[in-house]
Subunit: 387 residues, 2 copies
């Protein structure tokens, strides 16, 4: 397989972009990524766009074609991919594979979503499209409800406390303050989390990521198109994807998502590295408890220790297992289809040594994007190209 | 690149499947395809699912994960792809590329859609998600309206007559009578078409494909998994994809879709064959006039001659350019995401010599799937493996 490099990044802020459609944000992010890559846009052989609910919330599909045309690239294959909240990560993997397999020398992965124009009720209904609505959806389950159950199961199994879970929100909200792309950063204390509005017991408002608009884009190329013009190149060591049980009755427990475990194993095998080799992680903290479960599923610490690591500060930017220095979904927001590409953006900036919450000496980074009730997952491992 | 073979086919009927969700039909079609391929389902390394409007019409996304899990394959990468009416063709191409690039030895492409549970108004709104709704959609354009304009432009440029266009409907509706998967076959005469209900001048009801439910699936494998158990294998000579202008103001005229022209050129180049070498074609006749435009864009006859070829019977199953012997979208119906895979199904049966409207001695077949206002297109070229 051809080696694949990330040579251009673009992103809008994640937050509110009133009266805007997802592909408009996607075009903006893609133009920035193309400019940074320093290649003729005509080199792009294929576009993959991650998006989840533009049809439902905006009445607009064919986003990949709209973005290709908006970039002056009508003609090339342009595909929207969907795997609920993992849609962005899936777009990245497909763009990487297009170059890795030699069918083009450069490809573009874009993630985009707009949600803030809709009422919270409509957004909740749209997000529930990620459930099996013949089973889980019928019970009245929502995603805050699901992660409330996950929290209770984790607390029961491992004694994970409200204080430990709150430490995740405090860290990510604070990390977000320095990130210009994050709109929901905030200086909070653990008791602020517990005191925020109840959503789905034990989940409180500050345990939740926010409804957001946004887009992010990356250019991936073969080695001969790496210009080093604007930034050090970053090499893709793994771009893995997996799926999991479609409904919660298919899970053997609620303290782990098999899709993450399977996909992470695949990614570490592809890259030939172990969890302990990873310097910086951006993972899918759609709720504070999710960061704890995800980090254990990724093998970053033993099962049941995620809460302790968070409470002890080991997952902060200066800790030994830095997680979500960007602020994660909790502080950046979660414009669903954009999130997976946004994570790639953040980790690449870390590996370039240019992140606002820089992890000193980061050379190997990991992203983790999880969709639905653990039905879809991607894990990517990226490395500084001079490493 | 690894050579890729089609070794298993499955399809539901295209028509009405009341109170059914798209993935339920997809699982049914996929099971049939896996049984026919005669391989252990665990050999399937990846699933791509083509679907367009399940989110909008059914409130259900993550269809790829639901299908993977329904087949007992949770764990493998499962991706929904979308390019409006070309979604099925895009799923096929991605499954082919998964095997061609060597990342798995077998992959599954599924197309599925359910539409008949919704009112015609809701279906029309859902289909309009395939337009640029900042431009074309705002004008009040619908797809019958667009193809009415195309018809008028074609008639103006080439003198194409109502009688010639009606010949397409008559042929396809009659072809559909013999096809057990087609629910809208009918013995009609040209004057029946002109006498049917007006939809969008000059388009009449019998010029339109029908709102339908349905699913189709194909198993593609590397040569070492070709068992010849149930049926002669068919080799994939080309699986091309392209995009086109996002709105009609981007077209230089309304008598041709650049996405078809570009994608067909790519497919013929990949396969190393010319239009004249093709024995049988399944193309995107969403309206009778579309078959004429598509067949000219594919190079099957000179521009402006599509109407004449149809009226003279040259595109019938016994003609020199057999088009849509299945009945096409006009007689099978058009469960949007399923259509592109349904076309592969029909051409493979032709190449196996098992089609109800068999084209004698067919060895090389072509499928053409077109999305939106020509924004997405796929063209595949398939060959009998013993050819």
């Amino acid at each position: 397989m051809t080696e694949v490099y990330i040579t251009g990044l673009g992103s809008t802020t994640f937050g509110r972009h009133a009266d805007t459609l997802p592909h408009q944000l996607g075009i903006r992010a893609a133009r920035a990524a193309l400019a940074e890559a320093g290649i003729d846009p005509a080199e792009i052989g294929e576009i993959f766009v991650g998006n989840f609910v533009s049809g439902v919330l905006c009445g607009q599909e064919v986003l990949a074609g709209l973005i290709a045309d908006g970039l002056g690239l009508a003609g090339i294959p342009a595909t929207k991919v969907e795997g609920a909240c993992a849609s962005g990560g899936i777009a990245f993997r497909n763009a990487v594979l297009a170059v890795a397999s030699g069918r083009c020398r450069a490809a573009l992965a874009v993630g985009c979503e707009t949600m803030t124009n809709a009422t919270t009720d409509r957004v909740t209904a749209a997000l529930n499209c990620a459930m099996d609505n013949l089973t889980d959806g019928r019970t009245g389950l929502t995603y805050p409800g699901l992660f409330g159950l996950v929290w209770q199961a984790h607390a029961h199994a491992y004694g994970t406390s409200r204080d430990q879970v709150a430490a995740v929100s405090v860290k990510n909200k604070r990390n977000g303050l320095a990130n210009p792309l994050a709109s929901m950063g905030r200086m909070i204390e653990r008791e602020d989390v517990a005191g925020s509005a109840p959503i789905a017991d034990p989940i409180r408002l500050l345990d939740c990521c926010g409804i957001s608009d946004g887009a992010a884009a990356v250019v991936v190329t073969a080695s001969d198109l790496v210009t080093h013009a604007a930034a050090p190149a970053v090499r893709v060591r793994a771009a893995a994807q997996g799926s999991g049980p479609a409904r919660i009755s298919g899970l053997t427990g609620l303290t782990s998502f098999p899709a993450t475990v399977t996909t992470a194993r695949r990614a570490f095998e592809q890259a030939g590295v172990a969890p302990a080799d990873i310097d910086v992680v951006e993972l899918h903290d759609c709720f504070s408890i999710a960061e704890i479960v995800d980090s254990e599923d990724l093998g970053l610490m033993p099962a049941g220790h995620g809460g302790g690591y968070a409470a002890e500060g080991r997952t902060g930017p200066g800790g030994d297992v830095p997680i979500n220095p960007s602020g994660g979904l909790l502080a950046k927001g979660h414009p669903v289809g954009a999130t997976g590409i946004g994570q790639i953006y953040e980790v690449v900036q870390q590996l370039r040594g240019r992140h606002p919450n820089q992890v000193a000496g980061a050379r190997l980074g990991l992203t983790h994007n999880l969709g639905g009730t653990g039905i879809a997952c991607t894990v990517s491992i990226l490395e500084r190209a001079d490493a």
